[in-house]
């Protein structure tokens, strides 16, 4: 999960950086890129299942034809894992993009101008002005994404059902599997509680970073 979150952060950052420039049709592309955010997770899972199903899905077909890779979600655990990562990237990169875009557009102009007067080049401007100013925003996005990644159930459930075997059982699916088919209530509750503690800690970090970014906007 951390894999997909880190890829999303980098990719989202690049996209936001590109989208901040003005060009005709910007709003149109922005709308398109916001689309996956509103799609229900379960539908995302269904769509990716339709795309990757061996038989009529285009992804296995073209992977076989162009790269000669045998791709089967139901038998190969690493492939299933990377499919889940790709799906998550498709679904949530827009979130990172749009959040950071909002952060970038709210940025004051003065520091950049004074830096240019002082002779800083673009990389220096980015390193010493953009990044520190954007830090609270980046942290907020990061924590939100980590927590959402911990919550992931629906997509994976739809795509592989946590399989093949137990290779792609994320914590949520694991709890579900333990509690319902096996009715092991005690073990399930213990895991739920641990997960809850973990989330509360993350939440606290998020809370701090949100309040900080709030102060930043007030300044």
């Amino acid at each position: 999960m951390l894999v997909s979150v880190s890829i999303e952060m980098v990719l989202g950052f690049i996209l936001a950086g590109l989208l901040i420039r003005d060009f005709p049709g910007k709003a149109f592309f922005r709308t398109i890129h916001a689309l996956p955010l509103m799609v229900a997770p379960i539908v995302v899972g269904a769509v990716w299942k339709l795309m990757t199903f061996p038989g009529f899905g285009p992804i296995p077909h073209y992977l076989k034809e162009w790269f000669n890779i045998k791709y089967n979600l139901g038998t190969s655990a690493p492939q299933a894992f990377w499919t889940v990562v790709t799906m998550d990237i498709w679904h949530w990169t827009p979130f990172v993009t749009l959040t950071l875009l909002a952060g970038l557009s709210a940025m004051p102009k003065e520091p950049f101008e004074s830096a240019r007067v002082d002779g800083a080049n673009r990389i220096q401007q980015f390193r010493f002005i953009t990044l520190p100013l954007l830090m609270p925003m980046i942290l907020t996005t990061l924590f939100l994404r980590i927590m959402d990644a911990l919550r992931i159930v629906d997509e994976v459930w739809m795509l592989t059902g946590g399989g093949p075997g137990v290779s792609n059982r994320y914590i949520g699916i694991h709890i579900w599997r333990v509690v319902f088919p096996q009715t092991d209530y005690g073990y399930g509750s213990a895991m739920s509680l641990l997960l809850l503690y973990f989330t509360v800690v993350l939440c606290w970090l998020l809370f701090v970073s949100i309040t900080q970014s709030g102060q930043r906007t007030v300044q």
Partner: protein, 293 residues
Amino acid sequence: MASAVSKRSFKWSRLWINFGTYVFWILSSIITLFPIYWIITVASRSRVELFPPPNIAPTFLQKVYWKNFINPFVNGQQGDYLLNSIIIATSNALLVVILAVMATYALSRYRLAGADNIFFWTITNRMAPPAAFLLPLFLMYTRIAKIGDWSLFDTRIGMVLLYCVFNLPFAIWLLKGIMDGIPRELDDAVLVDGGNVWVVLTRIIIPLAAPGIAITALLSWVFAWNEYLLAATLTSVEARTITTGLAEFVTVTGTNWGEMAAVGLISLLPALVFLTLVQRYIVMGLTFGAVKG
């Protein structure tokens, strides 16, 4: 002369950058849109047309296999599920908005003991993985909230209340930022003129916060519509929602892919509509008002 040349080359490089930008954005848009396109394509084909070799041409422009839509919705149960989803999501949105407006007003205008803690704990409620609440909720719905034969399990009311728990925090966080922005002097003016709190709320706060309230309602509608895990656990027949209906298509004995795609497509439509309505505010909603889009 030299300046003219440099100006010209500058223009050329600028053109190339623009061209590159467009190519990049069109490519990434294709990647973004392809899954949606594919669900439309699959939904429009019959079983025979679907199977190999995969054909990614837009056949739905010429011929749509309507049985995919008619079978699950008219003959099957998906129509009921769709109705359930609409009822649950709509009443949830209404309830959330009413409660959230009052709660936020209190949090924003009065000095409550431990207001910060209340504020923090509400967000914990939203961010905690639903899987962590599955078991306690399941036991509560089937064993505790039970009067005679009737229990909250598998009822629409149960689902509405449940989504309220998960949507209220987000609604409060979103509305708090908006309500804090309404000047207190307006409240005071009404109070001085002899109005009570109710008048303040209905004449000042609600009209001024109307756009924010509308966004809150739409987003909590979408969240309730999209939810799957809790709906799948806490309902069985009567109150199933469309998302759980979609998941029911995956069975051991083979799946009717066309119908599954059709149901998925239908459950996707509200998202597309809302996207056009609240596109600018989605980010604000998802980050609890921390980021203004």
